[in-house]
């Protein structure tokens, strides 16, 4: 059993040798004459400015949230599909019940999607918020 991992170990070692070996060879062979221009970050000839830790637009996260939910819900369908094969052999009614349950699940998901759509969670350019969605800030001390 342990020997099964031997080729993985060899692979890991080879990877390490190749990567660090090339770096080492490059370091030994190349000449080193640093100038301020050479030490700057490579930006296709443009002089670099600002930090690379820019803030992503918050709208990416909003879309990602909606995607995340609907993406993961698919996992729920997986066991049903597996069981359906067995159900088919036992009884047709049973299979229909299972399909009905999944259908209900999907209907609820669709309602949720429509809701998110309608409320503007999928819009890239947000419409100004409706009067019912804006509440004043309260701070009871």
């Amino acid at each position: 059993m342990l020997y099964d991992f031997a080729n993985i170990v060899v692979f890991l070692v080879l990877t390490g040798v190749l990567v660090f070996g090339t770096l080492l060879v490059g370091r030994l062979v190349r000449t080193q004459k640093p100038t301020p221009e050479k030490n700057t970050i490579y930006e296709c000839g443009e002089p670099p400015f600002g930090s690379s830790w820019v803030r992503y637009n918050i709208r990416f996260y909003n879309i990602a949230l909606v995607f995340l939910i609907f993406d993961v819900e698919v996992v729920c369908l997986f066991p049903v599909i597996l069981v359906l094969q067995h159900f088919k052999l036992i009884s047709r009614t049973l299979m229909l019940v299972a399909v009905g349950e999944v259908a209900f699940f999907v209907v609820v998901l669709v309602i949720a999607l429509i809701y998110a759509w309608h409320k503007g969670a999928l819009d890239w350019l947000r419409a100004p918020e409706s009067p019912y969605s804006v509440e004043e800030s309260h701070n009871p001390e």
Binding site: T93, L94, I111, E135, S137, H138, N139, P140, E141
Partner: protein, 511 residues
Amino acid sequence: MQWTSGIIEQLPRDLSTIAPEIALVITILALILIDLLMRGEVSFSISFFAIIGVFISLHLLFNAFYNPAPSRTAFWGLLAVDKFTLFLKLIFLLSTFLVILLTLQSNLIYPYRVGEYYTLLLTATMAMCFLVSARNFILFYLALETLSISSYVLATYTKRDVFSTEAGLKYLIYGAAASAVMLFGISYLYGLTGTLDITAWVNVLTPVTSLTVLLALLLVFVGIAFKISAVPFHFWAPDVYQGAPTPITAYLSVASKIAGFGALFRVSLPLFTDLIIPGSKKILLMLGPYHFQFATFFWIISVITMTFGNLVALRQNNLKRLLAYSSIAHAGYILMGMTVLDAAALKAMLFYFLIYMFMNIGAFYCAIVLENKTRIGDITHYKGIVNEYPYLVVGFGVILFSLTGIPPFGGFIGKYLLFAAVVNKALSTPHAMFYFSLAIIGVLNSVISLYYYVRILKIMVLESPAKKIGVPWTPVESLLIAIFVIAIFYLFVLWTQPYVLIENVVKSIIV
């Protein structure tokens, strides 16, 4: 595939046992669709539909109560359908109804985005109903998480308010951590027992494995203790109770907490039953030596929880924060029943839930009214408010004295039953001092709590007002306060009526 036989025949009966929950689900979907389809001002009609949904669910619940199902379980042992579960569901639905009434009175939530609000509220209620009837860890965890996630969103509902967002974030982080730790415990229980049955740990509690089982149970208790805000898993409670919109605070402090206790009962049911069921010598022998260990554990948690809650509450000036610590202390009182672990204690705890629901939601209703009038949550600003709003102060006084547990109010009966259970146990076991000390600490704590409850009233009544507030008192406010006050007096004067019901309920799980 043995279990698939008879699956179709059982389905209608099984579905009928969860009729109240189905009604809630249909209401939830209907609310979303109404919110989507109707144009213009929909706040009132949505509130109306939510109340209708809760009432239909209550009606189905009463039906189930008076026509008990032939079997104790449904869906192949996944769900318990006994009167005990139905009683807890009754409390959840009633408190949801009261919270909807509070919402309609709260200036913070109503009428902003109420469609989502009621959807989440009813989802949480449905999750609680499933949580207390779960007999399988998958359903248990699923219900607990549904409840938690809905609560997180509800706590952060007033989203432009920094406090509310903070509350939601803290609740979520602590809650996610607690439930993840609980899940790790469940995974060990699964490995030890081989099933996900919620009470299967009894079968493996032998001297060889006891340490592992008890450790796994401790991890499971972390998740539950978080819900009931028992010390040391209470960190979230003060911040969340203060920051969340007040109706949600009421909901979390009552329904969510009682759901936590319901889950605790489900997991620890063998502890209640093993000494009582006649034909179960085997379980008796197995659990016998561990019984006292569990009692000791709950003794420690209970004493720490009530003492901590009461002592810290003494120093609070924010009304909602004070009530948060008071509700931590009440969790400690209820946990006294878990120390006793017999039928009398279970009855006392169920009665305490009933009265606690009216007292605590009532207290938060008064907080909402004060917030609406003054826009301030600090009790030092309520000086002499009795001159302007006498009804409010009288009603609040009744609720606060009831929370203390003073005789002419319902809270007294709740505490009396709990202490009676503890003292009776003390008289009937060799560990008399163990239980007597618990009762004495409980009484001392009640005395401490009197101080901070009365302090609120003292500020409101005895000190002279700084300036007039000038926001008029409305008849609806009188009506709602009257509901809570009447409920509190009813539970004092005619407490035997609900108590007979509770005896019935307890009989359904402990023969």
